[in-house]
Amino acid sequence: MLGYTITQWLFGILSFLAIMFALMVVFTRNPVNSVLYLVLTFFCIAGHYLLLNAQFLAIVHIVVYAGAIMVLFLFIIMLMNLDADTEPQKHIGTRFIAGIVGGVLLFVMVGALRGAEQIQLVQTGSSQIGLVKNLGKVLFSEFLFPFEIASILLLAALVGAIMIGKRDTNINSKETTNS
């Protein structure tokens, strides 16, 4: 088909969609819609993972992001009762400048991210690395330490979230830091 393989077609479509949805996340006024667009973006990215033979990662991605994180976001948004009407908007000029700066950043990035042509290709196509078995092996041997230490991270997040979320019984303010 026009000299492109299916993968290439898929890549094109997924990329286009991912970028489109990403833009929608930024430019939709209603936060709820933003979340939904973000979920869609995640799905596109998961698609890319599949294209790249990272099947397990694709699944985890869907489960963690779309399933857990995004639900959390939605939940908070619902809780705060945010919608298009209450959504505060930046001044149009600010947004315009943000866009310009983003464009310039893109331009600079394009300049900066040259040089990938030189990379030696190791192998193509049917990679096995994305399989659970391979990943698990690496994770529990080479990456054992980070894996273990990540638990500290999660514990810290857990404690932190609980501490912040818990209602105070007394005001623990002996000092004021207002000024």
Binding site: R114, I152, K174, T177
Partner: protein, 462 residues
């Protein structure tokens, strides 16, 4: 290595303390634990040099041990400072969070893989976000935590993008591998590798709060509870510098021409902005925040002199020790003064010289040290930085640093002048716990001792 585990264990223990009802025991336990970790640290000195741990994820060589030592010493001091901070009901949560942050800090001294770097930064940062916001009813604290979180995560994005690019170019997260790759490539590296290095640089500059990535620091420092600010400006900073140094002196030293000019400009900008803004502050807390930016710039100067090898590392080590101890002393005084006078403004210090001579004297020593006057530790800190930088082509930075540190003297001395030469308006008695008196005496002693015999720190790697 073992110290890291001890601290992790302590953190988990702190979590459990609430459940198993040994809250009262926790404080001494933590102090003892830190001492134990320090002892372990000490015993590992020279023992397992160059033995990679866990698939080369983490490596406690002497440099790492030295920086861990600085962090542990500071942490010990900090826990003394913060003893009454833990008296309220969330005691265990706070303990756990601080200890987890400590784990992150120790990882940052010893990482040898991008994964551990990233995890270390996050383990350090996430508890800090929470701790900054820990004063839940206080709007300033809320705002501080929130700002820190947003900007911290944003910076993490850049860090990760940089790591990804470096991974793409080199095919590994292992720092030794990356270093070997750089030296083998002989300058024949893809452009996006350099982009990756620069993005990591930006993220690290954010962590050490160098201009123009410093904006978060003054606001967060000011909004956070004073003890947490003390934590941020000492342990977090030391850890960030250990990481920075490891990355840019050891790993990316081979491509220094990419980043050294950038770093030089950043240092210049930091020196000017921090000192000049600090001079205009009314709040001592905020002034210390800006001054910490200026100190960061000084430490960065040592990194800039990357061709000086061990001398640079020595300089950073010494600087972070001197700065941490000086800061702890300054924050101890600030904490007590603002508690009594209900303000952290400079006026709160008026007449302290009469009211509490000991406290004032220790504050003078701290200020002199931070200003870099001999024979305090701060002087040698600056001296070592100058002496490594003077052999490079960045002599102009020294001139700039000297000029701006004159401004620095201005704001540090403002405190001294307030303490001794302004009559006090508020009659509140300033009192201090015995532990704090001890702490101040200890830090003052350390500051002077380090200034008199800097050998013991400076010759540590020889």
């Amino acid at each position: 290595m073992k110290g890291l585990f001890i601290i992790s264990g302590l953190g988990i223990l702190a979590m459990l303390a609430e459940i198993f009802k040994f809250k009262k025991l926790l404080y001494p336990l933590v102090l003892m634990g830190i001492l134990a970790a320090y002892a372990m640290n000490f015993m590992e000195w020279n023992n397992n040099y160059d033995i990679p741990m866990f698939g080369n994820m983490i490596r406690f060589d002497n440099v790492a041990l030295a920086f861990s030592g600085v962090i542990l010493v500071t942490a010990f001091f900090w826990f003394i400072l913060a003893n009454d901070y833990f008296e309220h009901d969330h005691i265990t949560d706070h303990f756990a969070l601080v200890l987890f942050a400590l784990v992150g800090a120790l990882m940052l001294t010893s990482f040898s893989n991008m994964t551990t770097l990233f995890l270390g930064i996050e383990i350090l940062s996430i508890p800090m976000y929470v701790l900054a916001a820990s004063r839940k009813r206080d709007l300033a604290s809320n705002e501080a935590g929130f700002k820190y979180l947003i900007m911290g995560s944003f910076a993490s994005g850049f860090l990760l993008f940089g790591i990804a690019l470096i991974y793409g170019a080199t095919g590994s997260f292992d720092l030794m591998a990356i270093r070997a790759f750089i030296s083998h490539a002989n300058g024949d590296l893809p452009a996006f590798f350099y982009a990756g290095v620069l993005m990591v640089l930006v993220a690290m500059l954010f962590k050490v709060s160098a201009a123009p990535f410093h904006f978060w620091a003054p606001d967060v420092y000011e909004g956070s509870p004073t003890v947490i600010t003390a934590l941020m400006s000492t342990i977090v900073k030391t850890a960030a510098f250990a990481a920075f140094m490891h990355l840019f002196l050891v790993v990316f030293g081979g491509v220094s021409e990419t980043w050294s000019m950038v770093l030089a400009v950043v240092i210049a900008l930091s020196l000017v902005i921090s000192n000049f803004t600090a001079a205009a502050q009314q709040s001592v807390k905020r002034m210390l925040a800006y001054s910490s930016i200026s100190h960061a710039a000084f430490m960065l100067m040592a990194i800039l002199a990357n061709n000086r090898g061990w001398a640079s590392i020595n300089a950073i080590l010494y600087y972070s020790l001197a700065y941490s101890i000086g800061s702890i002393a300054a924050f101890t005084v600030l904490y007590n003064v603002s508690k009594a006078r209900n303000s952290s403004n400079i006026e709160a210090f008026n007449g302290l010289g009469k009211r509490h001579p000991f406290m004032a004297a220790c504050m003078v020593i701290a200020m002199l040290s931070l200003a870099g006057i001999p024979v305090t530790a701060g002087f040698f800190a600056k001296y070592f930085v100058f002496s490594v930088l003077i052999g490079t082509s960045f002599k102009w930075l020294i001139i700039l640093a000297i000029s701006t540190s004159a401004v620095g003297v201005y704001y540090y001395f403002k405190v001294i002048i307030a303490m001794y030469f302004k009559s006090e308006e508020s009659p509140e008695e300033v009192t201090m716990e015995t532990s704090h008196v001890l702490l101040l005496a200890l830090t003052a002693l350390f500051t002077i001792a380090l200034g008199l015999v800097p050998n013991y720190v400076i010759e540590i790697f020889n």
